[in-house]
């Protein structure tokens, strides 16, 4: 139930955090955030904060999970107990089990897994603060960590949500908008291939609103993709060698 008097979009069309309907939250990317992981990133989108790490490709254990023609991906999406208002038990919830699967499904098409048969690539996504859009942020962060680990990719993938709040279609919902809005729709998009690898919706939207939400979500993903590319260039472009 929406608390009485809570206004998510004011008369000037601004949202609770001052954004317009089509604004993404500010992002911050620190590649190589962790020392021991093969690839890692600290990713911040508004107040949603994620640490993601990639290990591998390494020998698959247990052995029977290995596939003869490709690497397998193992994805864990996990929320820290302190990442939300009420402490969350650290044991995996049904939501986390589902999200681990949809995030893996969003990443499968980008990894050129046939290059590393019989191996395992581990992708760990820790949500250290949740303020809406964590599955999208998890996908965006995981793609960065995969790139940072030097794993060959077909494309990067960026993800963000669009949805419906106070009757209007908006981009990149924060926690309040997710809780008290009418619909939330995370989308993961591969800009170089024009493909969607994650699409979920939960809430209620008219067909026209769905189309609009899909289109602004894809635009949002394009912007995040540019941020991803920028961060990777920043870290890996060699200094001018004269």
């Amino acid at each position: 139930m929406k608390p009485e008097g809570l206004v998510l979009i004011n008369n000037e069309g601004l949202r609770t955090d001052g954004r317009t309907l089509n604004d993404l939250r500010k992002t911050e990317i620190i590649l190589g955030y962790l020392k021991h992981a093969n690839g890692s990133v600290y990713y911040k989108q508004g107040n949603t904060k994620i640490v993601a790490a990639v290990f591998g490709p390494s020998e698959a254990h247990p052995r029977h999970l290995a596939l003869p023609d490709r690497a397998i991906l193992r994805v864990r999406y996990h929320m820290a107990p302190f990442s939300v208002e009420e402490r969350k038990s650290p044991a995996p919830t049904r939501r986390e089990v589902e999200l681990s699967m949809v995030i893996r499904n969003a990443l499968e098409p980008i990894v050129i897994s046939e290059l590393f048969p019989r191996t395992l690539i581990d992708i760990f996504i820790e949500v250290i603060q949740a303020d809406g859009g964590t599955r999208g942020a998890g996908v965006t962060a995981a793609a960065l960590a995969l790139a940072d680990a030097g794993i060959p990719l077909r494309s990067l993938v960026a993800a963000c949500a669009a949805g419906k709040v106070d009757g209007k279609v908006v981009l990149d919902l924060n926690d309040l908008e997710d809780k008290y809005g009418e619909a939330d729709m995370p989308v993961a998009y591969l800009p170089t291939l024009n493909k969607i690898s994650l699409l979920q919706m939960d809430g209620k939207m008219k067909v026209e609103e769905f189309k609009e939400a899909l289109s602004i979500a894809i635009n949002g993903c394009m912007k995040l993709y540019q941020a991803q590319v920028g961060a990777i260039r920043n870290k890996y472009t060699l200094e001018d060698q004269g």
């Binding site: 589902e98 499904n105 969607i196 690898s197």
Partner: protein, 272 residues
């Protein structure tokens, strides 16, 4: 943790045959691209349950039982009854289903059925409150997959809603600060009958209601759930692989039409 599963191997001859037929807009079992398999259903199949229904789509068989209970509401929704959905992919339904607690596929299925029922506001949850914040009715939906031949989501959503429609239960009534069960059975108040439609992308063609072989050959699957007023209440791209934005919109267009057809078959959304 979610691990890449082994993809079932389809023989090359089968794959080639499927591709060749699809080029002519035909399918292995003779259906058109937008044709569902035969759908049949039975209700009140489990007398011990407050509501039940079995839906068969082709060889896919899903049985849903609804049990009613009482308990405390969630703290953040003191004025609503509780809805919980569980799904079991029974080992007798497929060689790929293992005994044991629900795996990620079962959890994803249960959560999709939950979203379809909850977001469409199918059940009048507010009418299930006895004492606000203290005592409410709980609706338990258990999805039992008996035979898996593709398109579990659509069969499960149809069976769940059909089972809810047949649910009759003894309501808790309050009299002078005392609570007791009503003598008469009352029907569960339903406001909406949501319907889902699943489309598969195979060789860049969209086909509705994929059977098992088509699911295995599919690049990916996408499901939409609609209300009678054509609101979209749940969407899920399922499985590995990807889909273009244009294909999403095309699948949406087909699904809107198919949803009405399915609903009519179940005796819903008449006169639309």
């Amino acid at each position: 943790m979610s691990i890449t599963p082994e993809k079932p191997i389809i023989s090359k001859i089968m794959k080639d045959n499927m591709a060749k037929l699809l080029e002519e807009n035909k399918r292995l079992d003779g259906r058109s691209l937008t044709q569902y398999r035969d759908i049949s259903f039975a209700t009140d199949v489990i007398q011990k349950a407050e509501g039940s229904a079995q839906v068969n789509i082709g060889h896919t068989k899903v049985l849903v039982g609804v049990k009613m209970g009482t308990g405390a509401p969630f703290p953040d929704t003191p004025n609503q009854g509780v809805l919980t959905v569980n799904a079991e992919l029974l080992p007798l339904a497929s060689p790929t289903f293992e005994p044991g607690p629900p795996d990620e596929r079962a959890i994803a299925l249960a959560r999709y059925v939950d979203r379809s029922v909850r977001e469409s506001e199918a059940i009048d949850l507010e009418s299930l409150v006895v004492v606000p914040g203290k005592l409410v009715h709980i609706v338990y939906i258990d999805v039992y997959v008996l035979d898996y031949d593709g398109n579990l989501i659509d069969a499960s959503v149809l069976a769940a809603v059909k089972a809810l429609e047949t649910t009759k239960f003894k309501k808790v009534i309050r009299e002078n600060d005392q609570t007791k069960f009503s003598d008469e059975l009352v029907p569960l108040p339903l406001k909406e009958r949501p319907v889902s439609v699943t489309t598969a992308v195979v060789d860049n063609k969209l086909i509705v209601d994929p059977d098992l072989i088509e699911e295995q050959a599919a690049e990916t699957l996408i499901t939409f759930t609609f209300t009678e007023a054509q609101d979209i209440v749940a969407v899920m791209k399922n499985d590995q692989g990807f889909i273009s934005p244009e294909q999403v919109l095309e699948a949406l267009k087909i699904s809107i039409e198919k949803a009405r057809e399915l609903a009519n078959k179940m005796g819903w959304w008449e006169g639309g």
